[in-house]
């Protein structure tokens, strides 16, 4: 039992913090919210040079072969910096499933390009129902010779407008039970018949509507097995949920740090507001929420790294993180007062990006149901 980072993880964290503080100021975050692409190609290139794209990709495919736990450390800093762009989509939603379920040919083709920053990936999973259950998948893929033809609409797909590839989750057997007729396809995002429309969201984080209209995908682009894709989706949701917890943790810790600094500086009634007991107790509650998120998130990330079962731990972490973030964010705003609600202040970035991460890949109710099942209820 050991809750501490390794020396290498400490170094990774420090390096990421320094780099992002320098290269990803809030002026850039704001600019990217308004930018149609939503990311800075220059910054992307520098991240590639630091080896971030291929962090968890094995060395034989051009990566560094580090662990999911190492990635978790980096993602916490990504959350702390509100890093805009398709890093999460490419590395977590695209890279990990290809790494875990791809054929040797698929890995040879895509992983070096992800590691080299040449391919942007995303996962086209959710649809109109906005649910993460198999029954929500209505987009179809029908066999047509050596190809499949995909039709339907995906919603809330991150970075689809700039993606080179999408992992599209489609129903290939409409007669089978919900979970048994689903297949994951690696789709060239520039294939004819795909149209994307940006959705306007609170975090400005480039979620898209993606319409597939008779999109032809070669058979060899199936990831994993035909009709057996739901297992891939389930595992990917689990990894993505833990990864989102890291983003939430970063946002939460930064909100707390900013709030404590502000409470020490802000004077009212001739004393710092942080000397009032009510403010102190708010901050103590925030710190407890942040530590609870930290330990549960890293426990889940560690289990994923070790290849251990993680269903319960991931569910506990995400169920907790979503609601802890809500509490921390509310108190951070209360302590900051009105200034925290303005676009001139940095707090609002975390309020928006943290909430977006909390909504992604299932919220409290969704994960409590998983916990209930794990409890044998």
């Amino acid at each position: 039992m050991d809750f501490n980072y390794s020396e290498e993880q400490d170094m990774l964290k420090t390096m990421a913090r320094d780099f992002l503080t320098d290269k990803c100021p809030k002026t850039l975050v704001k600019e990217m919210e308004e930018d149609e692409k939503g990311y800075s190609p220059e910054l992307w290139k520098e991240m590639v040079e630091l080896g971030w794209m291929g962090l968890v990709i094995p060395e034989e495919y051009g990566g560094s072969g580090m662990s999911f736990l190492d990635l978790a450390v980096l993602l916490e800093e990504v959350g702390r910096a509100c890093l805009p762009g398709p890093y999460f989509s490419t590395v977590v939603l695209g890279g990990l499933p290809v790494m875990n379920y791809g054929t040797e040919e698929q890995k040879q083709e895509y992983l070096p390009r992800i590691a080299g920053g040449e391919a942007i990936f995303t996962l086209a999973l959710t649809e109109e129902s906005a649910g993460y259950d198999a029954a929500s998948i209505a987009v179809t893929a029908k066999a047509d010779g050596d190809s499949y033809v995909i039709n339907g609409t995906k919603l809330f797909i991150p970075d689809a407008h700039i993606a080179d590839y999408m992992l599209c989750v489609a129903r290939t057997d409409e007669k089978a039970e919900a979970e048994n007729g689903i297949t994951v396809f690696i789709v060239d995002a520039r294939s004819p018949g795909i149209s994307t429309t940006l959705l306007k969201t609170i975090a400005g984080d480039k979620l898209c509507e993606v319409v597939f209209e008779n999109v032809s995908v070669p058979k060899e682009n199936i990831l994993g097995e035909l009709d057996r894709g739901w297992d891939i989706v389930t595992k990917t949701i689990e990894q993505a949920a833990v990864a989102k917890c890291c983003i939430i943790l970063g946002a939460m810790q930064q909100s707390l740090d900013m709030t404590v600094d502000y409470a020490k500086e802000r004077q009212q009634y001739d004393r710092p507001i942080g000397s009032f007991q009510v403010i102190q107790h708010y901050c103590a509650n925030m710190a407890t929420d942040a530590d609870g998120t930290r330990f549960s998130t890293y426990e889940a990330a560690w289990r994923l790294s070790e290849g251990l079962s993680c269903t319960k731990e991931a569910a506990v972490a995400k169920a907790w993180a979503c609601e802890a973030f809500e509490r921390v964010s509310t108190l951070a705003h209360q302590i900051h007062g009105a200034i925290g609600c303005t676009t001139d202040h940095d707090l609002q970035f975390y309020t928006r990006t943290g909430k977006s991460a909390a909504l992604s890949f299932g919220g409290g109710d969704y994960y409590r149901e998983i916990v209930a099942r794990e409890m044998g209820l």
Binding site: M1, D2, F3, N4, Y5, S6, Q9, L69, V260, A263, K264, R271, P272, G274, S275, Q277, I279, Q280, H281, C283, A284, N285, A287, T288, D291, G292, F295, S296, Y298, E299, W302, R303, E313, A315, V316, A319, W320, G364, D365, Y367, R368, E369, I370, V371, A372, M375, G376, L377
Partner: protein
Amino acid sequence: MDFEFTPEQEKFRQELKDFLEDELKQGTFQPSCDAWIQGYSPEFTKKVSQKGWIGLTWPEEYGGKGRSHIDRLILTEEMLRYGAPAACHWFADRQIGGGILRYGTEEQKREILPKIIAGEAYVGLGLSEPEAGSDLASLRTRATEDGDDYIVDGQKMWTSCGMFMNYLYMVARTDPDAPEHRGISEFIFPTDLPGVTITPTIDITGSTAWAEVFFDGLRIPGKCLIGEKNRGFYQVVNQLDYERAGLERLMGNYPLFDAIIEFVKETKKNGKPLSGDTLIRQKLAQLQVEFEIGRLLTYKVVMVMEEGRAPNVEASMAKAYSTSFERRLASVTMDILGLYGQLWAESKYAPVLGMCSHSYLASTGYSLQAGTSEVLRNVIATRGLGLPSV
């Protein structure tokens, strides 16, 4: 990072489980809430002693086993999970032995530690007084030097295991002229001395786990002083970290959690098990989530102890959080059981062994003992986050 126990530690856990299962089968105890603080069983304590599980972390030269704080965490986790009656030795094992090891004389170590380890010294805690709760430094009990002895006059309240203790650990004022924090000393002495009167405090559940202790001209030898005279407040502050640090703050009513989970699985309403009800599933799953967070916060405390640091902020955080979980567990259970939840254990209709009514009432005190949640949040804010004390 590593979130698992080693195979040796898992083996130890299994040994504990086997022992506790055996004791259950033999009828030594029935699982109950608050058994760590209210479960009086000299017989059980003696058996735990014979297994070598009291003073587990203490140095071998004083009869301890020199094992890690993680081993003790596992030990307490299983005792609490089973609701085992460990009150006779819990306090001495948790904090008094450590205090004596840190500040006591060689003679005290040689005399008292082996008695604790043998499961024969039941040590009560004499800290609070009628006018000194959170503000412990304002205590009024006096210990006045008289030759080689001290004469003690005053009163203690909320003395844990006061009704069966045979030793009392106590703090008293030894210099009334010094500033409050600098005139307090720690003592430990047998309770069968003239001048000691013990009266039970009947709490909201009807339990007499606490007592009032009156001192009227009590004469104790100078060798009962622990550590340095007038430095007792600073010594006890350290000890309080350990008092707050344990899983008993999270798992004090754990048997109720197991019981309500079984209850909803087995009980049907309109022909369907209660465990199928979405609202009940969500409530119990939320408790499980909160429990896991409390478990990790408390494990963190033990990691800090293992690194040789006093778990000040970490213990405050874990305790403030965990006691509020225990309260919610009782409250959610009461909601699920409805009218039946209010029945005392002796009622033939009482579900979950009547633990719900007891726990619901007892849990009102969890956030008050050993540092109120307000005091603990002050610690987190000022010492942990560096917010200014004014």
